[in-house]
């Protein structure tokens, strides 16, 4: 499917053979090349300083450590991130709807939302940790990390509603809430999902930064522990796991979008 979409613009004056390559192939080849280069760098560099773990070494570490080391920590981080993701997005979506319905509120509060984006999570993390014990501080950090992007994408989406459809609802006597329900919410889906996809990895980042500050369990905790123990392959391994979880969350959101709002995917292309 992607091949069909990318083929037309890559064929300007390229030879015929190239046109028949599927669109994902160069990307795959590039990734494979980078993994091979990584392995080479790790092997060549590894001798003197050993700070780059090779892909094979990382796989061996996974095998040696076993599932038991990774799973409880992944679960802990995902749990915090998911709760933060939920609350942050819920607040953002509700606020976006209020902003569109009552523009006066938007003027004052949108600036505050910008300030919340500029608020460095690493700076307020210690404050939150002092104020709240346990998972709460991590959940707040995760929620803060997703709030702004979702708010903006939802706002853009709600505003992108087709004026003719809005007029139609109005002509049949519908008020602004009716317009919201019948037109705007559906129109916001393509843009909202763009925001939600970025939000998933961002929530993980918030949770992990919170864990750096002290927690019993979680990917952040084990990553710091392996770094200070100078356990190179494991630090790499956990970084890769964190990356993979973020990628999976991103992919999952894209999948949900296809199921919930398949037309949104088409709209964007």
């Amino acid at each position: 499917m992607t091949a069909v979409a990318t083929a037309p613009d890559s064929d300007r004056d390229e030879p015929r053979i190239k046109r028949e390559l599927p669109g994902w192939l160069p990307g795959l080849l590039g990734t494979v090349a980078i993994v091979i280069a990584w392995q080479l760098i790790a092997v060549l560099w590894g001798g003197e300083k050993h700070v780059v773990a090779s892909p094979t070494e990382i796989l061996q570490t996974y095998q040696k450590d076993g599932w038991g080391l990774y799973w409880p920590n992944i679960w802990q981080t995902v749990k915090e991130a998911a709760q933060g993701w939920f609350w942050g997005n819920l607040l953002a979506i509700v606020l976006a709807i209020v902003f569109v319905q009552v523009p006066v509120i938007e003027r004052g509060l949108l600036r505050l939302a910008v300030a919340s984006y500029c608020l460095p999570i690493i700076a307020i993390a210690p404050v939150l940790v002092i104020l709240y014990r346990g998972d709460t501080s991590k959940i707040i950090l995760a929620a803060l990390s997703v709030f702004f992007t979702t708010l903006i994408s939802m706002l853009v989406g709600l505003r992108a509603a087709d004026p003719a459809s809005l007029d139609l609802v109005h002509a049949y006597g519908g008020g602004s809430w009716m317009q919201m329900r019948k037109v705007r919410l559906q129109a916001s889906m393509p843009s909202l999902f763009v925001g939600l996809r970025i939000a998933a990895p961002a929530a993980l980042l918030g949770a992990i930064v919170g864990e750096y500050l002290g927690a019993d369990r979680g990917l952040g905790v084990v990553m710091i522990a392996s770094q200070s123990a100078i356990n190179v392959p494991r630090t790499w391994g956990i970084a890769l796991v964190a990356t993979a979880v973020a990628g999976a969350a991103y992919g999952l959101t894209a999948l949900v979008e296809r199921l919930v709002a398949p037309w949104a995917v088409k709209d964007r292309q």
Partner: protein, 292 residues
Amino acid sequence: MTMATTTPDAPIASTPTTVVAFNGPDTWTIVKRVARVLLGGLISFAIAMLVWWILVKLVDKPRQTRTPGDVFAYLFTDKGAAANRQEMLESGKITLRDAALGFFAGTVAAVITSCIFVLKRGVEQATMPLAMALRTVPLVAITPLIALIFGRDLLAVTVIAGIVTFFPTLVNVTLSLRSVPSEQIDLMRAYGANDRVTLLKVQFPSSLPALFASMRIAAPLALIGAMLAEWLATGKGMGYLILQSGATFKIDRLWAATFLVTFASVILYTIISAVETVVLARYAPGKSRKVL
């Protein structure tokens, strides 16, 4: 001068609005727009202070919280205020340098890479999927790994602040270099311009809005990246000061430092917004900045 750079896109622009705006807004309009952005920053500040104060009163934990007034006292009117300010200034300078170095290195590298991508399609096809994937990854979250690789000095901090800036900028700028209307490219071809000239005269100016939008979004991230690296790698600067204040329960210092860092972050964001407004007025007069 501006006319010369915008000439290629004006005559063939399809919408009448762009043609009207061909002469560009006058300086006064630009000054007004910039003033509006600055005023907006001032209003944000006032509202943020108010909300901070309300939140502190709501949470009602006087031992752990400080109001804006307390922070002001700590920095200006308390007995040791001068020493406190000195301490903040020293750490702040280090952090600002760290973040700025990474931010500029990341931006420049991203722009150069995008240009290479546009000139050499094969390179883009091979590496862009990976760049797209990395853009979605919370790179700041792997700071411990970067500290492990690049050691415990300035390099690690620069690398983190740099990659945080690099990937979003790369993706946004490359996409916008590609999204120039094909008529404009065709016109350049018809006049015998090669790819490099087209890139310089048509594609690069039209991607400036995307570049500034990316910079605006990346600046707070670069600051976060630099501070995290300071805490986990170098043990200097604001990042370390804040973490250490939290750990040793120096609440006044913790709140003052948190305030200053946030303030600096908002200021940077506002400055870039102001510059962006000017650039948009010159290079994309048709569209105003939609997203704050």
